[in-house]
């Protein structure tokens, strides 16, 4: 008699807990609760805005935070690592409030921004900044183990050949980190796409072309639920889930 694989059974049940609500939502959104509003042109624009702003935020994370991830991988710095986790640990509306305060006339920096015509409230720039702040810790946490797994012998060899630590990072580490960076970028982008709390404060809608009056997708779904009820929200959610699943498949393809 075949023995029951308890580990597989428990894992399957845990996976089901995560997955069943998502697939029920897909079924409801394209089935019994289908509402044409859920796949209207407005939803398409919202998804487009979310995809583009999340991609830019992820790209900004790559440029600004790859050196930090490498530094943490090669230097034990508990305080630094804890500080870098803060934006991911605090309630995200606080991130939104912080951005608005910093960019407001209440602070010297805010006055300076306003004087040079930069506004972060209800703007694409504000949206991207909020998404970058909340998704950058995920990027750093994804890249750090990748860098830690890289063979340090390559770096020590380069340093022994007289290369500076910066030159070693640029010329030895980065050229061999493409797959890791792409994988972490997609994870960070997925995180940014699901963000709600901070962008509901900073950019509930965007008042700039080409997305004038468009809500980011998570905000639109919330708005549909608040104004129109479950049907429109569920269908729009199902559309967003399909986009997210496509991202996950892309991530798997990159990893393998």
């Amino acid at each position: 008699m075949r023995q029951l694989n308890w580990l597989r059974l428990i894992s399957g049940l845990s996976l089901a807990l995560l997955v069943i609500p998502v697939f029920l939502l897909l079924y409801a959104g394209f089935g019994p609760l289908k509402d044409p509003m859920g796949y209207s042109y407005q939803v398409f624009l919202s998804v487009e805005l979310t995809l583009i702003s999340s991609a830019i935020a992820a790209a900004v994370s790559v440029v600004l935070f790859t050196p930090l991830a490498y530094y943490f991988a090669r230097n034990k710095n508990s305080i630094g690592e804890t500080l870098s986790d803060i934006p991911a640990s605090i309630p995200h509306p606080i991130v939104g409030v912080a951005i608005l305060v910093i960019a407001s006339p209440l602070t010297p920096f805010g006055k300076f921004l306003i004087s040079i015509g930069i506004n972060l409230f209800d703007s694409i720039l504000g949206l991207i900044i909020a998404l970058t702040i909340v998704s950058a810790p995920i990027y750093v946490k994804s890249m750090q183990p990748f860098f830690q797994s890289m063979n340090i012998a390559h770096e020590n060899y380069a340093l022994g050949l007289g290369a500076s630590k910066f030159r070693t990072f640029i010329s030895v580490v980065l050229p061999n980190s493409g797959r890791g960076i792409l994988s972490a970028l997609l994870i960070s982008m997925s995180r940014a796409m699901s963000e709600f709390g901070s962008i509901a404060i900073v950019a509930y809608y965007v008042l700039q072309q080409p997305f004038y009056g468009v809500n980011p997708a998570p905000v639109l779904i919330f708005q549909y639920y608040t104004y129109y009820g479950l049907g429109a929200a569920v269908t729009a959610s199902a559309v967003m889930i399909l986009v997210s699943i496509a991202m996950m498949i892309l991530l798997r393809l990159v990893k393998h």
Binding site: A153, N156, A158, L159, G160, L161, K165
Partner: protein, 201 residues
């Protein structure tokens, strides 16, 4: 001339070793005797708890790796994404050294580098040859070769050629080996046992 008198405690293992010689130095010892630890201390990967290290009369004990003019070569040492020719001049270019094409050809011929392609796709033995050649061309004052001769065929001929090239460039070498017979190629031989060094000749 390398003068290293160092003490380092790592967990329950304590290294207390002394190396004071130049030219071609062989370091032997069983697994776990402290060979790699000693080379890592001289190379700057580890910092000694006590002691000092001088290279050609310059104290390098607490200098970062990149300023010691000490090259560290292990079986994993390479810059994987470069091709062979770019790899070989990479270190020299970093230092702004002008290297004659004839010198590169001499090194390639002497060390049996008759192949090209991306270094990451080479066999272990080929990679070790390229890593050693790259280090020679970059003209360090000392090369630390930690088991990086282990995958090279025709090892005796290779060691002869390598020793000759290092001597010509006035580069001191400390190499570790699992093969006791390799010590006959050396000018000096140290043996490590349980973290303690003994100079045999």
């Amino acid at each position: 001339m390398i003068e290293a008198e160092v003490k380092k405690k790592l967990g329950s293992f304590t290294l207390e070793a002394r190396v004071s010689d130049d030219n071609f130095v062989c370091l032997t010892g069983k697994n776990g005797s402290g060979k790699t630890t000693l080379l890592n201390l001289i190379g700057g990967i580890l910092t000694p708890d006590e002691g000092h290290i001088t290279l050609n009369s310059k104290t390098i004990t607490n200098l970062p790796i990149e300023t010691r003019r000490v090259s560290i070569i292990t079986p994993d040492s390479c810059i994987p994404h470069l091709n062979v020719d770019d790899h070989m001049v990479w270190g020299a270019k970093n230092k702004g050294l002008k290297i004659e094409h004839d010198y590169i050809t001499e090194i390639k011929t002497s060390l049996g580098i008759e192949f090209d392609g991306k270094v990451r796709k080479l066999s272990l033995g080929m990679r070790e040859r390229v890593a050693l050649a790259t280090s020679l061309i970059s003209k360090p004052e000392l090369m630390l070769v930690d088991e990086a001769l282990s995958n090279i065929d025709n090892r005796r001929d290779f060691i002869d050629a390598f020793k000759s090239l290092a001597a010509k460039a006035k580069i001191d070498v400390i190499f570790t080996t699992q093969y006791p017979e390799d010590s006959s190629e050396a000018d000096h031989h140290y043996q490590l046992e349980s973290g303690k060094s003994t100079r045999l000749f």
